[in-house]
Amino acid sequence: MRKKLFLVLGLLLVGLLTSQLFAVISGDPVKTYKLPMLITNAGQGPGGKLTRQIVSDSGFTLDTEFFYLSEPEPKDIPAGKYGCLLVVIGSTDKGLGASGITIDDEIERLQRMVAHCKEINLPIIALLMEQDKRSTIKTNPNERCIDLICPNAEWIVVIKGGNSDGRFDEIKAKYNIPLTVYSKAPMDLMNIFKQMLPK
């Protein structure tokens, strides 16, 4: 049993290490920020929770080096507590209706959050990791979150498949915001987090 366990974990480790060799990050260089980082969602999707896991797997400790809040209000983000705010964009296809929250409620909360971050000079990083949530319909909840968060971000990180229509290139050009594109998740993301949050 123990032998098998080591074999499986070994294979997964080898897989992760091999994947590191082929990891591809392109676009603008990775920016650096101070710890601790606060992670949150835009659109109530599951990406924030998964990012929490990936940051943890990258070697950072939850609740000391980074924090996660699913729906922070301005009072939850005191000035000087965090080095940066990572906003994971991704609407939920399952939960908005079920939770009784509409996308309009969510957008209003995000507007309050963004305005507060500007007021306290907290840099916002926009991350899109769920490429399948993109839509050609402008009023799609995911697209509305992109419209709100990205122009107010200091840096945008996007999975390659999520930018196949050049939407984020347009935002970069229009608002002069650095854009980094990665292709292999979660390995590329782990690399990005290790570089952007020097200990």
């Binding site: 896991q53 399952k94 939770s99 949530k133």
Partner: protein, 416 residues
């Protein structure tokens, strides 16, 4: 008086016409009934992998289900090597046949190196014995192989009303008290955790919960299909305790196809991805693959459409951005693609579970997406009529005892 015309009797009052109508009705009823009978009693077969160790029945976990149309077989593959345990279920919505065909590909080709695997190809057996009401669905779907054709049934979403009727005006879910649509009282994926003395569908759900608890299942996978205009398509749905695993698995699968992941809402009750995790120790995963056949704006609902997934109306909808997965009419969403997705989806969920929970180790092999893509679906189905397979053929059918009863039995039961 002589000019008075004799009143003619209405034509329908004529004895001859009445007899002709009755004969016509009897003929239509006979041919219609034959169709229903054929689907109700169709026997799916498969050639089990050499590693099959035991066949259990859902009634082993709730004896009251014995001799009912809700009793259904569960095939057990025990490696004999200590490890984790996996439960895989198809066709809880039997109009999503890629889910049961995925189970059959697993059942015919599985190799378990470590741990134990339970596979139930017909989650809602009752629902598989009827077509979708008003859906005008073909009864069967056939997969071509080198040795001939393998036939599978296309069932309904809910349990057969012959086995559970009538529906209430509003279905009140037990134990949450949440109000749901009336027909969901026969939807097994709305009746978890079920109850031992509830409706037959609730009893079957309860028996599945008992299986998860008694067999100490670590990983529980519920396989589905979804219409492509439904947001939760091409997706894993998982509660918090298995969400990160689903996320990592989805990211790994993106090398082959798009796979989303979604958190199971805490306020939406009765579904496997919520209740399996809340009422047992299992880590639940529900998987959805794109099934254009069950979209509502399509052209003719044919067997070819079920197999190829090509429809011009959906292509138009996709052009307008109304579908939740990319849709190309040249490629469609064929059966091999949907089955391949599920095979790899289940394998990734199992593999990543060991990464997050090192104590849960299940080493299992079956054909994956790239294998089905390269060799076709039929390549992995074996000929049940070949002499070398004779001892390995399994018939997924259990004739309820009610059909074995004689008139005398019924009379005796009535007197009691």
């Amino acid at each position: 008086m002589a000019n008075e015309k004799k009143e003619k009797a209405p034509i329908l009052a004529s004895k001859k016409v009445k007899i002709i109508i009755l004969v016509c009705v009897a003929i239509i009823a006979f041919f219609g009934g034959k169709e229903f009978w054929e689907l109700r009693h169709f026997k799916e077969v498969f050639v089990a992998s050499d590693e099959l160790t035991e066949v259990k029945w859902l009634s082993d976990y709730l004896p009251e289900l014995k001799n009912s149309w809700f009793d259904t077989p569960i095939y057990v593959f025990d490696s004999g090597v200590e490890g984790g345990s996996v439960f895989i279920m198809g066709n809880v919505h039997p109009y999503e046949p890629a889910s049961s065909i995925t189970c059959y590909v697993m059942l015919e080709n599985i190799h378990v190196e470590c741990g134990k695997v339970f596979i139930m190809p017909q989650g809602n057996y009752s629902g598989s014995t009827m077509g979708s009401t008003g859906g005008a669905y073909p009864k069967f779907v056939t997969v071509k192989t080198e040795w001939g054709e393998q036939k599978y049934r296309i069932g309904a979403r809910e349990s057969n009303p012959l086995d559970q009727w009538p529906d209430p005006f509003t279905y009140v879910h037990y134990p949450s008290g949440q109000n749901l649509a009336y027909q969901d009282i026969r939807n097994m994926n709305r009746t978890y955790p079920g109850r031992a003395d509830g409706t037959p569908t609730e009893m079957a759900s309860y028996a599945i919960m008992e299986l998860l608890r008694k067999e100490k299942i670590d990983i529980a996978i519920d396989i589905h299909e979804a219409s492509i205009m439904y947001p939760v398509v091409g997706t894993y749905v998982a509660p918090d305790k298995s969400l990160s695993i689903a996320g990592y698995a989805a990211m790994s699968l993106s090398e082959y196809f798009n796979m989303k992941f979604e958190a199971s809402p805490k306020s939406l009750r009765g579904l496997s991805h919520r209740e399996w995790g809340d009422y047992s120790q299992a880590l639940p995963f529900l998987m959805e693959t794109p099934e254009p056949f069950i979209d509502r704006i399509t052209g003719p609902i044919t067997e070819e459409f079920m197999l190829e997934g090509k429809d011009e109306f959906l292509a138009k909808a996709a052009e307008k951005g109304l579908t939740y997965v990319p849709y190309d009419i040249e490629e469609g969403q064929p059966m091999w693609y949907r089955v391949g997705r599920h095979l790899s989806g289940a394998a990734e969920a199992i593999a990543w579970t060991s990464y997050f929970y090192p104590d849960i180790v299940v080493e299992v092999e079956w054909p994956l997406f790239e294998d089905i893509q390269a060799n076709g679906l039929g390549y992995y189905l074996h000929d049940p009529d070949a002499p070398e397979n004779a001892s390995k053929v399994q018939v997924v059918y259990h004739k309820p005892a009610a059909y074995d009863r004689t008139y005398q039995d019924l009379e005796a039961a009535f007197k009691q």
